[in-house]
Symmetry: C2
Subunit: 119 residues, 2 copies
């Protein structure tokens, strides 16, 4: 079953973005795409996750799984950790990755989670 990594591409991470330059959210999205999605994961751009005070933000969703929103992500430093965390999420049936197996950014930068729709 495929899980989705939503990347907020409108995010300016609280800083002014000069005209014509990519937003931090767009840079994060492209860096993740370039690094390559893990098996069973699709990476899609999202227009605003309504968490603008906390950006850059991503969300993880998947059938039967808890959804997670993570905040404060840095396109220059967090791409590898995001992808390893998403791979671990995709490998679970319910989205609940054991705490110690989550990358530190997922332990410390969770903004919210939502139970599976079916629960």
């Amino acid at each position: 079953m495929t899980v989705t990594l939503h990347v907020c591409t409108t995010c300016k991470a609280g800083r002014p973005v000069p005209e014509g330059q990519a937003t931090p959210g767009q840079r994060l999205y492209h860096a993740l795409r370039q690094a390559g999605a893990p098996d069973g994961v699709r990476i899609v751009p999202a227009e605003c996750l309504s968490a603008c005070d906390h950006g850059c933000n991503i969300a993880l969703t998947g059938p039967g799984r808890w959804s997670y929103v993570y905040r404060g992500l840095d396109p220059d430093h967090h791409v590898a950790d995001i992808l390893s965390g998403v791979a671990a999420y995709a490998a679970t049936p319910d989205g609940l990755v054991p705490w110690r197996e989550r990358p530190v950014i997922f332990r410390k930068q969770s903004l919210a989670r939502i139970p599976p729709m079916e629960s």
Copy 2:
């Protein structure tokens, strides 16, 4: 199609809760249940929405819809507004209620939103 209102019942809203007393999250859940779910809405308790700094918190989900997390809700003052906001959400096919038709608490106290799983 039924939508779900998840209510975080573990939430202490940042305050100590004397032993044997209901948490603010439990009080919010029971007040919402007592007031009654709108048509097409089920109200379910959730164990921690991982947004403890912002409680009390709720989440709205539904098939084909954007999911929303709202924060800072008060069991003594916000029950009617939550239920009217959830009814408006349930009446849409995609969860996107026009801005002016959202209760003020939903306009001002959104913590995050997540695109529909199908998008």
